[in-house]
Subunit: 231 residues, 2 copies
C-alpha cells in the first residue's frame, strides 16, 4: 500500500510520474488477473518500464501488489450487493467472506507472492492491505451502529427480537478478531494446500466457519451454519 514517487510527492514532473505510476499499477492488475505468478521484472516489462523505475515507485513487490489488489476491489459496497437490505450479521459475514475469497482465488498467484514477501518481513512496513478489516466492519455494521437509518432498523428488530443494537462491545471486538483469522487469504490457502480441498470447497469452508463464529457470538440460541447449501 506504500507508494513512493521519485523526488517526493507533488513536486517535479507530476504528469509523467502519474503516468508511470498508473502504467505500473495497470500492468500489475492485468498480470494479477491471470491468476499466475507475478514478479517484478514481469510487471516492469509489461508496463514498458525498467525494473529500477518500478522500485522507485514501490518499495517492494508486496506494496505494488497490495495497491493493485486494492484497486481491483471496488469497495465494500459490491460485497454486500445481495444482502444489502439484510441486517443479519451472519448473512452479511458470509457474503463478505465469499466475496473476499473469490477475489483472492482469482488472483491466487499474486496473493501467494504477496504473502510470501510479507511473511518474512514482520516489522517491515504495512505492505499488506487490511482488506478484511473493512469488510468485517461493514458486515457487522448492524451490530456496531444501532441505527443506520434505513430499513435495516426494522430488520434488526425483526431478527434480533429484544436487544436490537445492544450487543456487548467486547463480544463484538472478539468476534472481529475471530473473523480476522478466518476471512483471509492464508485461511483459504491453508485449506487448499494443507487440507487438500478444492478451491470451491475451501471457499465453502471459510464461509461456513465465518458464519459459525458469527452465530456463536449471538446472545441467542445459535443455529449452526447451514450445511449442504452449497455442496
Amino acid at each position: 500500500m506504500t507508494t513512493t514517487t521519485p523526488q517526493g510527492g507533488a513536486t517535479g514532473r507530476v504528469n509523467q510520474k502519474r503516468r508511470t505510476h498508473a502504467a505500473i499499477v495497470a500492468a500489475a492488475v492485468e498480470l494479477m488477473a491471470t491468476g499466475g505468478e507475478v514478479t517484478m521484472p514481469e510487471v516492469a516489462r509489461a508496463a514498458l518500464v525498467s525494473e529500477a523505475t518500478a522500485y522507485r515507485y514501490f518499495p517492494d513487490l508486496a506494496s505494488l501488489l497490495a495497491e493493485a489488489m486494492a484497486d481491483t476491489l471496488p469497495g465494500p459496497a459490491e460485497a454486500f450487493a445481495g444482502v444489502a437490505d439484510s441486517a443479519d450479521p451472519a448473512e452479511r459475514v458470509a457474503a463478505a467472506a465469499e466475496y473476499l475469497a473469490r477475489h483472492v482465488l482469482a488472483r491466487a498467484g499474486a496473493v501467494r507472492a504477496m504473502i510470501a514477501a510479507t511473511i518474512v518481513r514482520p516489522g517491515g512496513g504495512p505492505a499488506r492491505p487490511g482488506l478484511r478489516f473493512a469488510l468485517i466492519d461493514e458486515a457487522l455494521r448492524p451490530w456496531s451502529d444501532p441505527t443506520p437509518g434505513g430499513a435495516a432498523d426494522d430488520a434488526v428488530a425483526d431478527a434480533d427480537g429484544d436487544a436490537d443494537g445492544g450487543v456487548d462491545p467486547q463480544a463484538l471486538a472478539e468476534l472481529k478478531r475471530d473473523l480476522a483469522i478466518v476471512m483471509g487469504a492464508e485461511a483459504l490457502f491453508s485449506l487448499i494446500d494443507l487440507a487438500g480441498l478444492e478451491p470451491e470447497e475451501a471457499i465453502a469452508g471459510v464461509v461456513r466457519t465465518a458464519t459459525t463464529l458469527t452465530r456463536a457470538a449471538l446472545p441467542h440460541p445459535p443455529a449452526r451454519a447451514g450445511r449442504g447449501r452449497k455442496g
Copy 2:
C-alpha cells in the same frame, strides 16, 4: 517432511548418510530455536556441510525445516499434559492450540521462512508438516472414539450428559476443518502482522477462537469461550 538421501534409501554408505542427515537436521533445529531467520547456507555452514550436500538430503529448505520442526515436537502427548484426564474437547482443543502456537512462536523465523517457501509452490509436494491435524484429532478423540478405554469414558458421560459418544460425524468433520483454519501458524501471524497484536495476545486470540468453534459444535447450549482468563 520429504527426505532424500544420495543413491536412494538404505543402500551404499548408510552410516555416513545417517551421520550427515542427523548433522543437518540438528543444525537446523538449533538455528530454528533462536527464533531468527534460517537460510540454507546458514544451516549448511552450521552443520559443517556444503550447501549442495544439504540439498542432496532435502529437496528444499521447507522440507528440511519441516523435518526439524517435527523432530522438536515430542508428539501429541506433551500437548495434553495438563488436560490428559479431561474429556472436554474445548479444553483439550485450547491446550493443543496454545501448545502449537507457543512452539511456532518460539521458532517464528523458521516458520515464516517455511510458509514463504511453501505458499508459492501450491502443488510442489508435501513440504509442510500437518502438525495441526494430529493435534486436532488427538484433541477431539473424546468425540471420535466413544470408548478410549480409560477414565475418559466416565468424564465423557459426565460432560456430555445424554449422548456420550454420539456426535454427528459430519459435524465433527466440519469442526476439524474449522480448527484447521485457526490452529495454524498463518492464523497466528495474521493476528500479529495484520491485526497488530502482541505475541501473547495472538496466542490468546487463536486459543479463544478455537475454543469458541469447539463449543459451537456442541449440540448443547454453548457457553462462549471464557474471556479474561488470560488477560
